[in-house]
Symmetry: C2
Subunit: 299 residues, 2 copies
């Protein structure tokens, strides 16, 4: 099996990056990934001031996926996520939902033991997830810390072991990359970081030809979630609502009015994070209402 | 048992309203309630234009709760919710998350059968909840359509059968009122209405003396949720985060930094609704982390 070491990474998503590996559709590939702070904090004594901020938020890749072209959907199966035995969480003045409060920079080491993340005296069941996952965008270069239509720093707790992600492809080969694993996070990611942890993730790719989603879609056991990002949370919710209502209209062949009504009853608006350069929400639509095809558009 | 008929209601929360009934602590009381459109839509042929908008969002009450004084917490147990056999959902141009789209006013009758709400060909398991529930505010008169610190139009799906609500009391007797029942709603309440339905709810009250929450708190099986409302969703999230971090600091006797970190891992930010005069979010804190007392402040 192909393995991509954590050294081979990028700090932005762009079609100008040279692929570090290529895979066939259906071929499993293992990506190793640094933690989001580039492994720079190994103990609670590490001064936050010593961190090189140009070496954070690395995503392993990019991977060239053969048979995938501009205008397609890249289908990403997250087959497994394996975590290192310890992670780190940190707060930095100016960052997070309460960034303008007065506080000091601080890091805590979080040990991983028997399926639990240990934060001081609190034991939290692990929910391993991938914070940053995406493909090259249509235009320009997007820092790995930012979520958008190409994926990126989605920080969505649904992007977990067993989930399937659908990403719009803007360049042949897609140029997939992933990193920034979290041992556990809750919706909001309030303090700006989670249990940031080194790890390995096993992926398998497929393609849907000639169609793509407007925003990344993650498929869980019961829902399709449309992942929308914007600087303004109100705007992100509005876009997510529009996308959900459009999908219901398509699925049911209903009027706007009827689809809009059903969205009040069946579409859950949830928060991914409120702390990245763009904030993220998801519109969770039950699979009993829409099928994947209702979420994809002809390229 | 005391029963308050649906005719006895208010369209605003204010300490100037005369109570229509009084109860002792621990004494069950049944409130009947109109649906949120004042029962004005009995069929899909009712023209939306014919609705008298000054007769919507009525809350049954106010109830004077004996033994409850300014500065206390009113503890509200929702013992049961009983729904009528049909409800209504409606869309109105200008209203809801997509209010600026082009569409026509429209109502749909939703039948309630065998534990399901039937919207066209979609059958949705009931989750009865109380949309509007609150007490007289400290100052002025707040329309029942608006959520705020006194409660009001919270539209929170956690305010359901078996839940316990904690409200800050600003006037002796609290002047409690409730209405606007929903047979089912999802987080966001995107189209501005849910399955609006007539019903009856059985309440029982208790008091906590000399302490109160800053915002309404709802207690479910596993979480305390702090319910925060603001015109701006980003601001509501920030206030909810502040309240949650304060409670963790108190519960654990931790620094701001440590509480802020734990909030990223254990406090779920969820959306109540994005369509009322103030939008609403909730910070859901596991009961393993905080106890009720950590959420209350000396008056």
């Amino acid at each position: 099996m192909k393995v991509v070491p954590k050294e081979k990474g990028i700090y932005s998503f762009s079609k100008d990056h040279e692929p570090v590996e290529s895979v066939d559709l259906g071929e499993p590939i293992l990506l190793e990934a640094e933690d989001a702070v580039g492994g720079q904090i190994k103990s609670e004594e590490t001064p936050i001031e010593s961190i090189n901020w140009s070496r954070v938020n690395k995503a392993t890749g990019p991977i060239y996926v053969k048979g995938v072209e501009k205008g397609d959907t890249l289908v990403v199966d997250i087959l497994d996520i394996e975590l290192a035995p310890q992670g780190v969480i940190l707060v930095v003045p100016g960052a997070g939902a309460l960034g303008d409060a007065e506080f000091k920079p601080k890091a805590r080491i979080v040990k991983i033991e028997k399926g639990l993340a240990i934060f001081k005296d609190v034991q939290i069941p692990l929910r391993p997830m991938i914070g940053t996952i995406g493909v090259a965008p249509e235009e320009g270069e997007i820092p790995t810390a930012t979520p958008y239509k190409h994926g990126g720093n989605l920080d969505c707790i649904e992007v977990t072991r067993g989930a399937r992600l659908y990403l719009p492809v803007s360049v042949d080969g897609a140029l997939f990359a992933a990193g920034d694993f979290h041992a556990v996070q809750e919706d909001g990611e309030l303090c700006v970081s989670s249990v940031e942890i080194e790890g390995k993730a096993l992926f398998k790719f497929d393609v849907i030809k000639g169609k793509k989603p407007n925003w990344p879609i993650v498929e869980g056991p019961a829902h399709y979630s449309i992942l929308v990002s914007d600087e303004d949370l109100d705007k992100a919710v509005k876009i997510a609502a529009e996308e959900a209502v459009k999908a219901i209209m398509k699925a049911k062949n209903w009027s706007f009015e009827d689809a809009y009504m059903l969205s009040s009853l069946q579409v859950k608006i949830a928060v991914n994070q409120v702390v990245d350069p763009k904030k993220g929400v998801r519109a969770m639509i039950p699979k009993t209402i829409v099928s994947l095809d209702d979420l994809l558009y002809e390229s």
